[in-house]
Amino acid sequence: MIGMGHFYISMKVIHMKTEFQNGVLTAYLDGEIDHDSAAKIRAHVDASVQSLKPKLLCLDFSRVGFMDSSGVGLVMGRYRTMKLLGGMLRVINIPDSVYRVFAMSGLEGLGVLR
């Protein structure tokens, strides 16, 4: 499936754009990930995953300026969701400041961080 178009959700702390192409759902996150915004990202990404059934979910972190451990929970949860659906998860373009939080979790061992 190609060209599902993309759509935006705008929230004060986080802005997200998603794209679906060739079975790959990419979510471009722009802003700050905390407990508040993680809940919004989770709801939106999970709804897209349920309807589009991607084989790969890509979370693009290139524009994430801040993340606390809520981001670790968010990634772990999406990893489980994708695994249940027989798909894969990848987190790409992780800024150094954000990577420091991931480095404290067990996520490095799952091979989802790029």
Binding site: D34, R42, S69, M76
Partner: protein, 143 residues
Amino acid sequence: MKTINEMKLSFPSKSRNEAFARAAVAAFIAALDPTVSELSDLKTAVSEAVTNCIVHGYRRTSGTVYLTGKITEDNRVIIKIRDKGVGIADVKQAMEPLFTTAPEEERAGLGFAVMQSFCDRVRVSSKPERGTTVTLEKQIGHE
């Protein structure tokens, strides 16, 4: 050590105030000219502590989060974050990495580990049914 500046904040335990609290602390320490990583470390630790008040302290209820900040003569920042929520019966257990009482909310159980790793000192005092106080200390730059 002599205190050269201080501030006090209180706000309702709404999750949107997590961003407000860390931005307020960032503004408070701006005069110390922190590095990008010092700023990011302290913001992350504050975000974790405030989230704990909201998710755990006032779980299923609402209340007030109290935050105070102090800067000492030697550029040490001391931030206290307090709730009057349920408290923690076993602080030692709560501070263990991966321990969480809220797995259904996808809490990773890393809050205290992040605070400890990103600050020079973290103190936690808590009483069941009375609330919890977390004190974060971080040296900014050199004396």
